[in-house]
């Protein structure tokens, strides 16, 4: 049933409709807007043809296609894609050399060794920026958009920064780990993360041993990765840290150092035993808070912004939102922490397609960049410039600002990031580089005309009429075509006579992508 909720106040302040129902949306209700919404939220948007394809498939097949993406071919990542040895630990021989140089106070040798170290560090910084570009290209090109969306989701959830660990290959391993379990099982992710060299280094567990445990990983496992604040105590952190002692790595592989592990009895979250790290994780996963914590974050990412958990303001959320979150949490439990079933239930639900949620989410910088290339079909342009722009917009891949990841939502937007966003779109559409780069424009010309093909098919002749073209492109890009936004655009397009030339359509897209609404999806 599509019952509007009660409304108060002036029509202007009416609360937009939120459907309470988590039942599947009916085929008849799944039109262009719904398919477009699904493509943006579960992926990075789509071309008009892709949107039309989903419409013709209907919701069930579309959601299956997006979530069960293993059927879709994808470029395998070659194990030797990146050099794994740049930051390898010193060999026995190198260690001997180092020790000798120290003993003999051989300044020259020490200097040489230090310079070699610095050379490697520089190489590694180059490699991590190659990795950022590699990932960005992968997101742009993949046939499995949800796989990359979820890889990015886990990167922000189990946030680890290259800035701290200074080992690009470990970042790459972690990235591949997230991709492999992207819509798999949450338990695998948690058991895996306490064995992940990048995370072990980032949260100092490699220095945690019996007698002097480091609490960092134990704390974040409960606070940020699985339970949320308020669902554990300080004592649980202390005891959990003891359980994790000895979990470390050597070069690129996880190592359990029995000698450094505290085997004594512990009491964690009400359970007692001589727990190790894996048993600690198991206890965490048995907590009722876990399912609702993770599904809440998925909801925040795919449906609408939620207040930060520490404010505990969920009681003020609309009842339909709270109901949907409860439903997803129990789906997650029934699926024994399977992620795909939760996403499917969400993406199929009437609730997901509520008018209140459509075109009301602020695109992350990655969504903006990747989504623009994919949905408008612009040239990819110089990946280094795109990557720099991500940093300027606040989402430097592999460098999340802290273990909390990116806040998202409105925190992406201020007056200066808004200009970066608008100017990046101008670069994609025209090839004119942002200021600060060499001033020659990229020669690859963007042809926007294929975007109009679906319009011409549906309504022959409309592709030559300025009002129809503006209306169509607005619905594609910002999801709606408000009268006040239409008028200046139609005037702009109409000023060039009654022909619609590629140059004019590029101009029109420049204007549309610079509209404040273009930042929403």
């Amino acid at each position: 049933m599509r019952q509007p909720v009660s409304t108060k106040g002036t029509p202007e302040n009416q609360r937009p409709v939120i459907h309470a129902s988590m039942s599947p949306i009916r085929d008849a209700d799944f039109g262009y807007e719904q398919a477009r919404h699904l493509l943006w939220r579960a992926g990075f948007g789509g071309t008009p043809r892709q949107v039309q394809t989903l419409v013709s498939w209907g919701p069930a097949k579309s959601v299956d296609y997006l979530v069960d993406y293993r059927e879709v071919p994808s470029e395998a990542v070659k194990a030797d894609r990146f050099d794994k040895d740049i930051m390898r630990p010193p060999t026995a021989e190198e260690r001997t050399q180092m020790a000798r140089a120290r003993r003999e106070r051989d300044e020259e040798a020490l200097n040489r060794l230090q310079q070699e170290r610095q050379r490697r560090e520089r190489l590694d910084r180059t490699q991590v920026s190659e990795m950022q570009k590699w990932w960005l290209r992968r997101m742009i090109e993949t046939g499995r958009p949800l796989e990359e969306r979820m890889t990015l989701f886990w990167h922000g959830h189990f946030a680890t920064s290259y800035r701290t660990i200074e080992n690009s290959y470990h970042m790459f391993m972690q990235n591949e780990f997230f991709r492999a379990s992207a819509v798999g099982n949450f338990a695998d992710l948690v058991f895996g993360i306490i064995r992940d060299p990048a995370m072990l280094a980032y949260l100092d567990n490699n220095n945690s041993r019996k007698g002097r445990p480091n609490e960092n990983l134990a704390r974040e496992l409960m606070e940020l990765f699985a339970l949320g604040i308020g669902n554990y105590g300080e004592q649980d952190i202390k005891e959990g840290a003891r359980a994790l002692t000895g979990y470390t790595f050597d070069d690129d592989a996880f190592v359990f150092q029995r000698g450094n592990h505290d085997e004594g009895p512990k009491r964690i979250l009400g359970r007692s035993g001589n727990f190790d790290g894996d048993e600690f994780v198991k206890i965490i996963l048995e907590q009722p808070a876990c399912a609702s914590y993770i599904t809440r974050k998925l909801y925040h990412t795919f449906v609408r912004d939620l207040p930060p958990l520490e404010r505990a303001e969920d009681q003020k959320l609309p009842p339909e939102v709270r109901g949907a979150m409860r439903d997803l949490a129990s789906t997650f439990l029934r699926a024994r922490y399977g992620i795909a079933p939760v996403l499917k239930r969400l993406f199929l639900s009437e609730h997901f397609y509520s008018p209140a949620f459509m075109n009301e989410q602020i695109k992350s910088p990655v969504q903006l960049v990747v989504g623009a290339v994919r949905s408008l079909n612009t040239p990819v342009r110089d990946l280094s410039i795109l990557n720099d722009a991500l940093d300027l917009m606040g989402q430097n891949l592999m460098f999340p600002p802290s273990v909390k990841g990116w806040d998202g939502g409105r925190s992406w937007i201020n007056t200066s990031t808004l200009y970066v966003r608008q100017n990046l779109m101008a670069f994609l559409i025209t090839g004119k580089k942002p200021q600060g780069y060499d001033p020659s424009a990229e020669t690859d010309r963007y042809d926007p005309m294929p975007l109009l093909e679906e319009l011409a098919l549906a309504e022959p002749g409309a592709e030559r009429r300025p009002e129809r073209v503006c209306d169509y492109l607005l619905r594609l890009t910002i999801g709606r075509a408000p009268e006040r936004a239409m008028r200046p655009l139609v005037e702009f397009l109409g000023a060039h006579g009654d022909r619609v030339e590629p140059d004019h359509v590029r101009g029109l897209l420049l204007l549309i992508t610079a509209m404040p609404e273009y930042q929403l999806c």
């Binding site: 670069f427 420049l510 204007l511």
Partner: protein, 445 residues
């Protein structure tokens, strides 16, 4: 007053001050380019500026010397023989160090006559031996430690936490949630960094700084492509609101921010295109400070500006009284001298306190390449008519070293605390996430 009311109150207060808000926007350009006194009068009349000394009026400028400035060749400990023994090739001869009246131990690098003249006017304070426990010698890590005011180098920036707590941060509208964000958008610009990206120091939980390398970047580049784009672009971005959209929606938030961006861009570009009243030298830092002075002069309500002076990683051939490092110091001193001269002509000098720091100092002994490697404690320099002038702490011992490095005697967070409490008039404990004795930097009113 319940929380909600308080939020609204804080918000309103801030909006009231925000020159960049839509409501005040129309009057902005009028202030620009007027003579200083006439302008402050107008600002005062408009209720947009308060009297000097009143906290709202205070501006902090942070100057970062990137790469690890060699403190020992900045403030020269000429009275210590150990200094000359450790640095046979690069020490500044005692005869050439600029003497500081009343001080028999240290002098200034001879290239810093500009700083000496600020010192003579009572505008300069030098805090020696500033550092932190267990010094980290990685540029990135140590910089992060200074930026976060946390010895793990993780978390939000210290200035970001100040913005969060005092003007526009979390729980004050810019929270990223539809419920709390009802009146977000007109956050003004609590911090402006001149540079490609904003420094970590200015990133808060909610507050995000504005950064631009030149004011030219702070605008839409699309309008250069064809003039016919300009009109429709401005129309779309100056709507501010739209009938039928709920105020608390993200769409409304974006419309407001877009309008803010247009107005800020105009204000800033107009401010920056005005002429300086004094001649600034020709260096990157001087250009950045000239921009900052113009923005201050135009009455932009930004509390913190951030500028950067790079090139201090002098591992080889750094020079002594002459040479590369001296040149960097010369650029620094001359730029600051011009900056305060400009501010004085504007009548704004007493409103501006400048803090200079670097991620670490350098080792006491020179290396084999006539340079110095990464070290620890170093001096900080504070400038402005409202600082307690003088050399405020003793130089760390050159005899009692920690594996060849100076031992710090002042924690940098005490200096931050002094600035937060004494200048920004905010409690330092939540901002620095710990208790640090505020260093006595600011003159008592």
């Amino acid at each position: 007053m319940d929380m909600r009311e308080q939020m609204i109150y804080t918000r309103r207060r801030f909006l009231g001050q925000g020159l960049l808000m839509a409501s005040a926007a129309a009057s902005v350009p009028a202030f620009v380019g007027r003579s200083a006194s006439a302008m402050s009068e107008r600002l005062a009349l408009a209720g947009l500026s308060s009297l000097p000394g009143v906290p709202d009026d205070h501006v902090l400028v942070v100057c970062q010397l990137s790469g690890g400035n060699d403190g020992l060749n900045t403030v020269i400990p000429y009275a210590w023989d150990e200094y000359y023994k450790a640095r046979p090739g690069i020490a500044v001869p005692a005869a050439q160090a600029i003497r500081i009246p009343g001080n028999e131990v240290v002098g200034l690098h001879p290239q810093m006559t500009g700083l000496k003249s600020l010192y003579d006017e009572g505008l300069a304070a030098i805090v020696q031996g500033v550092g932190y426990p267990n010094p980290n010698r990685s540029h990135f890590k140590s910089m992060d430690i200074w930026h976060t005011a946390d010895t793990s180098g993780t978390g939000d920036g210290w200035l970001g936490r100040y913005f969060d707590a005092e003007c526009c941060g979390y729980g004050k509208g810019e929270s990223g949630t539809p419920e709390a964000g009802a009146d977000a958008g007109g956050d003004g610009m609590p911090g402006i960094a001149i540079g490609r990206t904003a420094p970590l120091a200015m990133h808060g939980r909610g507050a995000k700084p504005v950064a631009f390398e030149s004011a030219d970047l702070f605008r839409w580049s699309g309008e250069d492509i064809h003039e016919s784009l300009r009109g429709p672009y401005h129309e779309a971005n100056r709507r501010g609101r739209e009938a039928g959209l709920r105020e608390e929606s993200n769409a409304s938030f974006l419309l407001r921010t877009a309008l803010d961006a247009q107005v800020s861009s105009e204000t800033i570009r107009k401010a920056v295109s005005s002429r300086s009243q004094v001649q600034f030298p020709n260096s990157g830092l001087a250009r950045e400070l000239a921009m900052v002075a113009k923005m201050i002069g135009a009455g932009i309500k930004t509390k913190v500006y951030y500028v950067n002076h790079g090139g201090f990683d002098t591992h080889s051939g750094q020079g002594g009284a002459q040479g590369r490092h001296g040149q960097l110091l010369n650029q620094y001193a001359e730029a600051m001298k011009a900056f305060y001269a400009e501010l004085k002509k504007q009548g704004n000098d007493a409103r501006v306190l400048t803090m200079t720091f670097s991620e670490f100092g350098r080792r006491v002994s020179q290396n084999a390449s006539q340079g110095t490697d990464h070290g620890t404690a170093a001096p900080m320099i504070l400038l402005g008519p409202m600082v307690n002038p003088g050399v405020l702490t003793a130089h760390p011992s050159l005899k009692d070293l920690d594996q060849g490095d100076l031992k710090y005697n002042t924690d940098f967070r005490s200096v931050y605390a002094g600035i937060v409490e004494g200048w920004l008039k905010a409690p330092s404990k939540p901002i620095l996430q710990g208790t640090f004795k505020p260093f006595d930097i600011v003159k008592k009113a």
